[in-house]
């Protein structure tokens, strides 16, 4: 795989993760359990959409000359490169926050490494995003602990959320040909190398939350390389891309 192609795939992976998760989080608008959560969810979604503009903007610049909007609104599901974890439906508030935590933990470690990327543009985006994601992780971690170690019901719901989401965690640490090329160029770390730090972090928080990590290490995959997304992604895109698809060429 040539460098530009791999670099673009890497950028799509970063930008599609934030785009799809930002979309999911924004679905909560006006429906959160308490006003402070409405604000926090909108804020998180806003940060993620802002990061999407940077990652997809660079992806379009590197290859193909497309805008971030072209990439967000005019690709079909098979061209999306986000991990499956971010496209699963919100479920209850517990599942939404558990998904956020499992993603934030990876995201914060990843961005920390990307701040020393050999590509200055990547390092600059990572530096900016990292400040936001540090806060995301603090908040999602605190909420997971609060609800895990809350009432009997909140504990049961958080355990259920963890059990449901756990099989989607492993995909974040599987390396492929794209990664090999990118790692060789010093642009990004090898996903596999983030695994130990991630599990240590997640285990520490989930222990405080009195939750049990499922034993199975089975991992669903197919999002990062686009081979097999979940059924949910198509519905999400149907909604997200509707105006751009229905009125091609219009400027908004």
């Amino acid at each position: 795989m040539n460098h530009d192609e791999a670099f673009q795939q890497f950028l799509l992976r970063m930008g599609d993760n934030t785009l799809i998760l930002g979309h999911r989080v924004s679905e909560w608008c006006g429906h959160a359990p308490v006003l402070e959560e409405d604000i926090a969810l909108a804020n998180t979604a806003l940060d993620l959409i802002g990061q999407t503009q940077m990652w997809l903007g660079l992806a379009g610049e590197v290859k193909g000359g497309k805008s971030a909007d072209d990439l967000a609104f005019l690709r079909d599901a098979w061209d999306f490169r986000n991990v499956l974890l971010v496209e699963v439906p919100n479920g209850d508030f517990g599942r939404t926050l558990m998904r956020q935590f499992l993603f934030d933990a990876w995201h914060s470690i990843m961005l920390g490494r990307l701040m020393t990327s050999s590509d200055d543009r990547v390092a600059a985006i990572a530096a900016k995003a990292s400040k936001e994601v540090t806060y995301h992780l603090e908040r999602s971690g605190d909420t997971v602990v609060g609800l895990g170690d809350g009432t009997e019901e909140s504990h049961a719901r958080m355990q259920e959320a963890l059990d449901y989401l756990w099989p989607y965690v492993g995909e974040m640490f599987i390396s492929d040909e794209v990664d090999t090329t990118i790692v060789a160029a010093g642009i990004a770390p090898n996903p596999t190398d983030l695994r130990d730090e991630y599990y240590a972090l997640v285990e520490r928080i989930l222990t405080l939350a009195t939750l049990t990590i499922p034993e199975s290490r089975f991992a669903h995959k197919g999002g990062r390389d686009g081979r097999m997304h979940t059924e949910h992604l198509g519905h999400l895109l149907t909604q997200m891309q509707w105006l751009q698809r229905a009125y091609p060429g219009a400027s908004w």
Partner: protein
Amino acid sequence: MYAQMVESEASNDDPDKLAEFQARIDADIKIEPKDWMPQAYRKTLIRQIGQHAHSEIVGQLPEGNWITRAPTLERKAILLAKVQDEAGHGLYLYCAAETLGVSRDEITEMLLDGRMKYSSIFNYPTLNWADIGAVGWLVDGAAIMNQVPLQRTSFGPYSRAMIRICKEESFHQRQGYDAIRKMAEGTPEQRKMAQDAMNRLWYPSLMMFGPSDKDSVHSAQSMAWKIKINTNDELRQKFVDQTVPQAEYLGLTIPDPDLRWNEERGHYDYTDPDWSEFFDVIKGNGPCNVDRLAARNKAWDDGKWVRDGLLAHARKKQAGNLAAE
């Protein structure tokens, strides 16, 4: 804004204290939470601030309706930032209401069971993307008309909340105008969306100022107390005068065949909204009343386990800290 038809209360307080209170208000000295105030002043303010706060909260729904369908990343980001601001306004206003001795949970329950109202405008649907521009331009524009004078309102915490809110609202209005301008200057379909939004939202925006002065029974006392600064019709006229040239610039038609400049008055003559529709919406028969309230109730009910869980955890932590001391 967002407080219309706020009923005022009759006062039967000590006449000397009342006179002293009125003298402070007349001298433009702010009333602060610990100061003596007539019961009716307190009750009317709780109702007005509460209604305003609820409007910010319910107002997230029609705008949230388009976040997942926003046509560009930038529009999506702007809309998210705006909705986040609205929720923040709700938060300051609930805090202002709390200084009058009513908790956020208490007045939230009153919203949810229908004892308290929110602005009738949010009982109208957002049906096409241009509605989001129109909400910013017309609805926030009307809100600002109401809120700018309220920065000078007599109750300190309300006045200070309003100063902060007005800054953000004027940004909202500008982004709304920019969004609808883009549509009005766009393809024929986009112009159709913009005109359709204007047709549906014009009269509901005029209704936001409340009933005509001749039918507004609650104004006099509130104006004497500087809880309300201008009459409904004054503000409505100001809004019409400001908005007509903007609509002309956009090439949009205001759905009022009798709208025209009156040289003698120095104002536009316009048709009043259909007040029977307004009272229907207030009574709960607007296009979205039932759904809006159901959505808020569902959010509150579904969120109970979350609130309970976080509270239980906070108590455990507190108990742990105490034990460690």
